[in-house]
């Protein structure tokens, strides 16, 4: 069996009649069997566009994507049997109760999903007998979650899944995802919130302005050895004082400076000792800060 569940090659999508509006450009990455893969980037970077091509909701301008080794456009309905998708938007049919929608969703798959519906909705504290249109935003989101997972899919695609969920439910949701993952499901998870990606994922692809700017292991990112420095001196610090190889996110303001640094610490310490310091801090940066330079 192919080790990659998702293979994306130079996937490009331009929108509009004249194909002028950039969606994504030459996106390529693979997601391995059993992986929890994060897909992060700011709003409008192309996360949803990529997912929507994978689901054959939109058609690529060029390039291709394969899921389970099958072409994601030509064999879309075949692939969909084993895919669970949670759209970023909440949705409902007028007048349908939660259970009606879930049964409707289950009717597309040739298996009995009723036990799973019961189990998932109990864990997420979702009342099956209410009309969906009367539910709060967070509860509608839960309907989406159960709908995406009720057929025990082999690939779970989540587009900004956590918005509107309270922290406890979010925790339950993540627990459920981890269990699915242990059972063998591969998960593709898009978000603009790094901390949730950080908690869940093995690897992440970072997308910015429609292009992939990096694919990294979360563990690698953490061991990137960047340290965050904050310095305040008695006298104004020269604007270029700390500049050099390995320095990024450099900000100075009169007597103070802050930056991130990776490399030989002694060089920085030597520079520090050349100043008359009033305060100094050396900390572990958050992933957010490491990513910041991708976003810029």
């Amino acid at each position: 069996m192919d080790a990659n569940v998702i293979e994306i090659n130079n996937l490009t999508k331009y929108y509009g009649r004249k194909k002028r509006h950039r969606g994504i450009v030459d996106v390529s990455f693979n997601v391995a069997q059993g992986e929890i893969f994060g897909f992060i980037g700011p709003n409008g970077a192309g996360k949803s566009t990529t997912m929507r091509v994978l689901l054959a909701l939109i058609f690529p301008t060029r390039g291709e994507a394969r899921i389970f080794g099958k072409d994601c456009i030509k064999e879309a309905s075949e692939i969909a049997k084993d895919v669970g998708y949670l759209p970023s938007e909440v949705f409902y049919y007028d007048g349908m109760k939660v259970i009606d929608l879930l049964r409707y969703s289950a009717s597309f798959f040739k298996k009995d999903c009723s036990a799973r519906i019961k189990e998932l909705s109990e864990r997420l504290e979702l009342d099956l007998n209410r009309k969906i249109e009367d539910l709060s935003y967070g509860n509608k989101k839960k309907v989406g979650i159960v709908q995406g997972l009720l057929h025990s899919p082999k690939l779970i695609m989540l587009d900004e899944p956590t918005g509107g969920l309270d922290p406890l439910i979010q925790q339950t949701f993540f627990d459920i995802l981890r269990e699915e993952n242990k059972k063998g499901a591969t998960i593709l998870f898009s978000s603009h919130i790094l901390s949730e990606v950080q908690k869940m994922c093995d690897r992440v692809a970072i997308i910015k302005d429609g292009k992939i700017v990096g694919v990294r292991k979360i563990s690698e990112l953490r061991n990137d050895n960047y340290k965050k420095y904050g310095v305040t001196a008695a006298n104004p610090i020269d604007a270029d004082y700390f500049k050099g190889e390995g320095v990024m996110n450099y900000v100075t303001d009169k007597n103070s400076a802050s930056f991130m640094f990776k490399g030989d610490i002694n060089g920085v310490i030597a520079k520090l000792s050349g100043l008359e310091l009033t305060d100094v801090s050396i900390e572990e940066p958050s992933l957010e800060e490491i990513f910041l330079h991708y976003y810029e």
Partner: protein, 266 residues
């Protein structure tokens, strides 16, 4: 079949409402006929004093009031409009509600080819219309029979009544095509009213101006009851046009639905 069943369930109430409308409305309006027939001499006198244009705009032919089929054909002008409204609204909403309720991602990411989704939606809409048509035909036959103690010209009656089905098929396919093409339709009802009354109005103008050209723009006038009564047949070229357009809209809607990018919900 699951999409078909779900659609039928969603349109259950409105289907029942239409069935009742036709079953009640038609006999009610037809029951007013004796009044017109008794007074037909006086009405003819009165009508003859009205300007031609007014008669044309109301599609009134003084002979209409002398027999039950003639009277039915007059009533049918407005029944045809309601038939169009029902079918157009159904066609628009069966597609556009998925966008409005943001369920389009949900539905199209399921393991069903888009072609099947479209065909199941079309079948469900046809089934809903079929039920209304049965109600209409029963109501029409019964109420015309009641008003015709000496029998009536069944062929002419049938030719007129059958246009109900033609009109509905035409407007259903038009509605589905428009909804596929314009995926940001906020309210199917307001668009329906706009289009249906627009078409009705153009039809009126075409009668007043006696303009062939305008008639082509008004599908409701493709079937001219006056002509049917006089000739016992449809006008071939308008009948052909109605069917060609119906099939064209159906095919175009299908093709666009299969190939089109689904816009993200906003």
């Amino acid at each position: 079949m699951n999409i078909f069943v779900s659609e039928m369930r969603q349109y259950r109430k409105s289907a029942v409402a239409w069935v009742i409308t036709y079953a009640v409305l038609l006999p009610l309006v037809m029951s007013a006929m004796p009044m017109f027939v008794e007074e037909s001499g006086a009405i003819k006198d009165m009508l003859s004093k009205l300007p031609e244009a007014v008669l044309a705009s109301l599609e009134i032919n003084p002979d209409l009031f002398t027999g039950s089929v003639g009277y039915f054909s007059y009533v049918f002008l407005y029944i045809g409009l309601t038939a169009a409204v029902q079918a157009l609204n159904l066609g628009l909403s069966v597609i556009s509600k998925e966008n409005r309720m943001k369920t389009v991602d949900f539905l199209l990411s399921k393991p069903v080819p888009r072609a099947f989704i479209y065909l199941q939606k079309l079948s469900a809409a046809l089934a809903v219309l079929f039920i209304s048509q049965v109600s209409f035909y029963i109501a029409a036959v019964v109420s015309v029979s009641i008003q015709s103690p000496d029998g009536f010209d069944f062929k002419t009656f049938a030719l007129i009544a059958l246009t109900f089905t033609f009109i509905q098929l035409f407007f259903l396919c038009l509605g589905m095509f428009l909804a596929v093409l314009f995926d940001r339709i906020k309210s199917a009802v307001s668009l329906t009213m706009g289009v249906a009354f627009g078409v009705f109005f153009i039809g009126m103008v075409s009668s007043i101006a006696d303009s062939e050209a305008l008639r082509y723009l008004s599908p409701l006038r493709y079937f001219d009851n006056g002509y049917i009564i006089a000739n016992g047949a449809y006008e071939t070229r308008f009948l052909a046009l109605a069917w060609i357009l119906t099939l064209l809209f159906a095919a175009a809607g299908f093709v666009v639905f299969i190939k089109k990018d689904v816009r993200a919900a906003v």
